[in-house]
Symmetry: C2
Subunit: 243 residues, 2 copies
DNA sequence: CGTCCGTTTGAGGATCATCAATGTCCGTGG
DNA sequence: CCACGGACATTGATGATCCTCAAACGGACG
């Protein structure tokens, strides 16, 4: 698997429940989750793995072999630049699918941030299964479509000139992701400042200054560095939208 | 159709040939093009339209009704910002599918740059057809995956700090798109400077100065503003990769 | 021939990256 | 229990880059 991995300690209860693909729509509103049968079937094909923090799942350039589904934990997908800098292309949350490849090679490097539970499926097995089950395939299509929208949003984010605006958009993105989980008014920020910087395309220092500004202006309060409270919703939204 | 359109003058020869979805891979190398039967079937479901330049196909926020396939011409997909600025999210080349929506509404505005031939399919009809034909659906899945990769690349592009580097990456993207068409050494640049600026996230002036620099350094020669010649391939590639 | 649109060129100002130093947290070892 | 070390984060000063404003230029088209 191209990387050190946590061996052995899988949860012995087979949790086929956790393979849901997230709600999206291609217009039509349908039952967005997988059927019980589909989950069971996917669970049959997939192998669960429990992965410690800061573990590389695969590297850019590695031969494509598995597609991964994140059911628990946080993973980053990033590219190493010549300069040594890293650009995080996506954060993979629970219910996210990853393993993007081109010409049979992974495009990015994937690394866990927190401990994570991943299900891996051989890519050709998955492809075959998708061909067999058009309904399942449709969920994947929706999922990739959602990822496409997110990528476009990130392009808009990175394209902004102002640091605080970028940070605001970033927090908004996090809020969207955790909205379903019912956190209201406060936003979990599971990643480090450095990782935020690598995602929004700023230097670490700029991120630091931007968070400080947001706090000073009374728009957002940070506590322990990994939780953000939205104090002034109106100005926060204005910042996010203001471009 | 939410927009003025060129009425009547469809080519009377039914060109089912032109509905190909472009080559991509999810790892497996397959016959990348649609089968003749699939093309015919798609052509049955789709309505061709010949659209003049600078025509709005749909606006962001419009209710989703059609999915479009571009078979000829150039379309831009962009978002209007509060400031009045525009950020181009994607250029749609022949064989591209577009009509990205969220919650039943188009996410971006689509506008033709050149005259174009578009096929439109009612989104729910397409969805139904995809459910029926898992193979066809797989091609769409690959297509969206390709778009995702491109979007990620654009994020990297926009994230760069140097204007010339961004322009170089942009030209490289164009070259990739026209590579199949056999132009060797020279790159068609069908869009305006302003549109390039809106895509790479620079001001019009910065784009102008960057092109000038590329020309002065003998890396690329521009003629008539819509064609670029790669003079120094080595330094060009270095610029593209140098981050 | 004049207007309009897109582009080029120039000068000044704002913003962020970079470099450097200090500060904080946490785990390790004495 | 405390001191040390390392990773990460903050804060400050300087410089480079690009945006903005402004003016001139060019071709297309009436």
């Amino acid at each position: 698997l191209h990387a050190k991995r946590a061996d052995g300690n899988y949860p012995s209860t087979a949790p086929d429940i956790s393979l849901d693909i997230v709600p999206v729509d291609m217009g039509k509103s349908r039952t967005h989750l997988l059927t019980a049968a589909q989950r069971r079937h996917l669970a049959d094909l997939a192998t669960p793995m429990r992965v410690p923090p800061r573990t590389i799942v695969y590297r850019q350039g590695d031969a494509l072999s598995w597609i991964f589904i994140n059911t628990d934990g946080l993973v980053k997908s990033f590219r190493e630049l010549r300069s040594g800098a890293r650009r995080i292309v996506a954060f993979l949350f629970p219910r996210d699918v990853f393993g993007l490849a081109e010409n049979g090679r992974y495009v990015n490097t994937a690394k866990t941030i927190t401990a994570a539970t991943l299900y891996r499926i051989q890519h050709d097995v998955l492809a075959a299964e998708l061909q067999r089950d058009a309904d399942l395939e449709f969920r994947f299509l929706c999922k990739v479509t959602q990822k496409l929208r997110e990528a476009q949003r990130q392009t808009l984010l990175v394209g902004r000139r102002d640091a605080v605006g970028r940070l605001a958009m970033f927090l908004k993105m996090l809020e969207r992701h955790f909205a379903a989980t019912g956190h209201n008014g406060w936003i979990p920020v599971p990643m480090s400042r450095t990782e935020i910087a690598d995602y929004v395309g700023l230097s670490l220092e700029a991120v630091s200054r931007a968070t400080r500004k947001l706090a000073l202006q009374g728009i957002i309060a940070f506590e322990d560095g990994h939780t953000a409270h939205v104090l002034d919703r109106a100005r926060f939204n204005a910042l996010v939208a203001a471009m």
